[in-house]
């Protein structure tokens, strides 16, 4: 539009296509945030090898961001069905509490079988929480925000009940690997996250599952009439979200070698929702972007790291976060864009919404 005459129509339209891609703004924010660090720490992007491990700011951003990415990926699918899951923080606490208390009861805390069993117990409990949420939402028809509020309130109580109000510390080498260990020079948690993200993307974009989830989020009743088992899809999605939260719980408790019923995963649900929103998934449901969510989670973690590196007092962290939330939400609001950027606002809103639907459409299959 106002681009100088040098630009041909071809590059303009390509530029437009780029800026209208649904990942453009999240990625732009991420890159901008990363670049902010360079004047303060010139070797910000350098990654060095020490003791056979890779160290560097980029590695640590992914390492510390892993639990958030996991929780946010699960949350994305829940939000895609038009729901929301407030209970993930409590599920993180419950999983950590169960796993650590089981391991701490063992005489040999390094025994692999015991560690696997402990993790199994923790994850099963997490999935049961998800089943309960899904049951309330899909079967009883309760608003998701309220249904999951129950476990959000009661869950921390249960976690404290399991740990008896104490912070249980453990000393288990194999368990330490998940959240604090290294494998193939990289933090092990990166592999866990990569696996979960890959499986999720494969399930939702290579099969019809993603389309079904979006369809349920678009209109649950219509989907049911078409023959999609929308209730079952919803329950599954909540169970998946809780499972992701459970894995994140393992990671957090493993990283600190302790289970804290009160503080483990505190406010992670809010960060996760934030990551999903930054990633461009609408809270109204009906479409989602796992890639966007991963980038959103990285944006949040980078923001935290940036605040540390540029020497701003860490307590202003939350204020920055609040500003980012508002800015991102305003940028995504068609009404705000219409008011600020004038008529452009209307044109911008449509391609972003049309894009995911378009790439999902060819995979449409007739379901049961």
């Amino acid at each position: 539009m106002s681009t100088p005459s040098v630009a041909t129509t071809g590059t303009t339209s390509r530029w437009r296509a780029l800026t209208h891609h649904h990942l453009f703004w999240p990625v732009a924010v991420l890159i901008a945030l990363l670049l902010v660090n360079v004047p303060f720490t010139p070797d910000f992007f350098s990654v060095r090898m020490t003791d056979g491990h890779l160290y560097g700011s980029l590695v640590s951003i992914v390492l510390f961001g892993s639990p958030l990415i996991l929780v946010a990926v699960g949350m994305t699918l829940v939000i895609a069905t038009g729901g929301i899951d407030l209970s993930v923080g409590a599920v993180v606490a419950i999983t950590g509490a169960l796993t650590c208390s089981y391991i701490s009861d063992q005489t040999d805390q390094n025994a692999l079988s015991a560690v696997f069993l402990a993790m199994g117990i923790g994850l099963v409990a997490a999935v049961l929480c998800g089943l309960w949420n899904g049951f309330l939402v899909a079967r009883m028809g309760i608003q998701p925000i309220i249904a999951t509020l129950i476990i959000m309130v009661a869950g921390r109580g249960v976690a404290q009940l399991i740990t008896d109000g104490q912070i249980i510390t453990i000393n288990s080498e194999p368990y330490k690997l998940i959240g604090g260990g290294y494998w193939l020079t990289l933090p092990f948690s990166i592999f866990v996250v990569a696996a979960v993200v890959a499986i999720t993307v494969a399930l939702t974009r290579r099969t019809a599952l993603g389309l079904l989830v979006e369809s349920v989020g678009g209109n649950a009743e219509a989907s049911r009439l078409v023959g999609i088992r929308s209730r079952r899809i919803k329950i599954m999605v909540y169970m998946f979200c809780a499972l992701c939260a459970g894995i994140a719980g393992l990671m957090i408790s493993s990283n600190t070698s302790a289970a804290d019923g009160n503080n483990a995963g505190l406010w992670i649900e809010l960060d996760a929702i934030l990551a999903v929103v930054i990633g461009g998934t609408s809270l109204l449901g009906g479409r989602f972007s796992i890639g966007g969510t991963v980038i959103g989670a990285l944006v949040i973690q980078t923001l935290t790291t940036t605040i540390y590196t540029i020497g701003v007092p860490t307590q202003t962290n939350l204020v920055f976060k609040a500003v980012v939330v508002i800015v991102v939400c305003l940028l995504q609001s068609p009404k705000f864009r219409a008011k600020v950027f004038g008529a452009k606002g209307r044109g911008q809103a449509t391609p972003a919404q049309a894009a995911p639907a378009a790439d999902a459409a060819p995979k449409m299959e007739v379901s049961r």
Partner: protein
């Protein structure tokens, strides 16, 4: 949902009569409030029976429910307005925390007189609510996200003021905190009296003013309210302003109650407030409920706490579990009621 087509053919007379009585009972909007009130009474009587030798029978134990939960009542009243209009406010706990910090800082560190600080704090809270309402209405962003940003913002501002807690030794604060109104059988603190006054005003506003009607109308059906020509924007923004004001007032009462400012005061209190509103029988979809129910919701939550104290052997986390269980029960009751209305 699928049951609608089957009902008419069923054998009539007694079954339908029973069904209609049940329907009328379930359809009565006052039912949830009555259930909560009954629950409160039952719990109180059970407490009387169980702990009569430990001083539970004293009237002061009952009055302490108001003294110890006055701030929560004020916050929950604000939340009632928002929920009644079909929205939600997650910033309540943070605004409370911020107010304690803000007032403690101004009174202790800056030496401002309390009389000046109180209106200032209330103004900041109300303005915060106004801003959130403005963004929610004008840019059509979901209340959940906007008030989430408010949660981060106010909690962050607490920490910007100071990382450590500020205890208040100002004489005007301590004399206000210790002021008591004697009721013959016991006494009430200033906080409890303010809370009851707020409840009274809210009751009047919601049930007897045009503004209250609008809040109900918007919560009931936004589209219809708009078509009727109700001032949607003004009402929505006002509702969040009320909530911000109530949160700040709750913060002042909390500051009086604890006599300190701490950046971690009232973390998660928005959930207590929402839980109290839900247990009090207000529909979370908006448009239906009574502010008196919120009072009973707060009293039930407070009574759980004091019963656990009297029990002695139970730990504080049972409060959370009991709150969750109650929340669940009341949500299911609400669900049963709304399901009735739809068919």
């Amino acid at each position: 949902m699928s049951a609608t087509t089957k009902t008419p053919a069923a054998p009539e007379s007694r079954t339908t009569a029973q069904a209609s009585t049940a329907a009328r009972l379930l359809g009565d909007r006052r039912l949830p409030v009555l259930v909560t009130a009954a629950l409160f009474l039952a719990m109180y009587i059970a407490g009387l029976g169980r702990y009569q030798n430990y001083g539970f029978t004293e009237p002061q134990v009952f009055l302490n429910l108001f003294i110890d939960n006055g701030y929560l009542l004020v916050a929950a009243v604000g939340a009632t307005f928002v929920i009644m209009s079909g929205g939600i406010d997650l910033s309540v706990g943070s605004v409370i925390g911020f107010t304690t910090m803000f007032t403690a800082w101004l009174v202790e560190r800056q030496g401002l007189p309390l009389l000046l600080v109180i209106p200032l704090a209330l103004g900041v809270g109300a303005f915060g609510g106004f801003l959130m309402g403005y963004v929610i209405h004008n840019f059509e962003i979901q209340p959940f996200i906007v008030t989430l940003a408010g949660l981060f913002l106010f909690r962050g501002l607490c920490l910007v003021i100071s990382k450590e807690s500020i205890s208040i030794s100002d004489s005007s604060v301590s004399s206000l905190a210790q002021a008591q109104a004697s009721l013959g059988v016991g006494f009430l603190s200033i906080g409890a009296i303010v809370a009851m006054a707020v409840l009274g005003v809210a009751f009047y506003v919601l049930h007897y003013t045009r503004f209250g009607r609008r809040v109900y109308a918007i919560g009931g059906n936004e589209q219809s309210a708009l078509l009727m020509g109700l001032p949607m924007g003004g009402t929505k923004i006002a509702v969040y302003t009320v909530s911000g004001f109530c949160s700040a007032l709750a913060g002042l009462l909390f500051m009086l109650y604890i006599q300190s400012g701490d950046p971690l005061h009232a973390v998660g209190m928005e959930l207590d407030a929402i839980a109290a509103v839900v247990i009090g029988g207000t529909l979370l979809t908006g448009g239906s409920g009574y502010v008196v129910g919120t009072l009973f919701g707060v009293l039930v939550l407070g009574l759980i706490k004091s019963l656990i104290q009297f029990e002695g052997t139970l730990s504080s986390w049972w409060t959370k579990i009991a709150t969750g269980v109650l929340l669940c029960a009341f949500i299911l009751i609400q669900r049963a009621m709304t399901a009735r209305k739809q068919t």
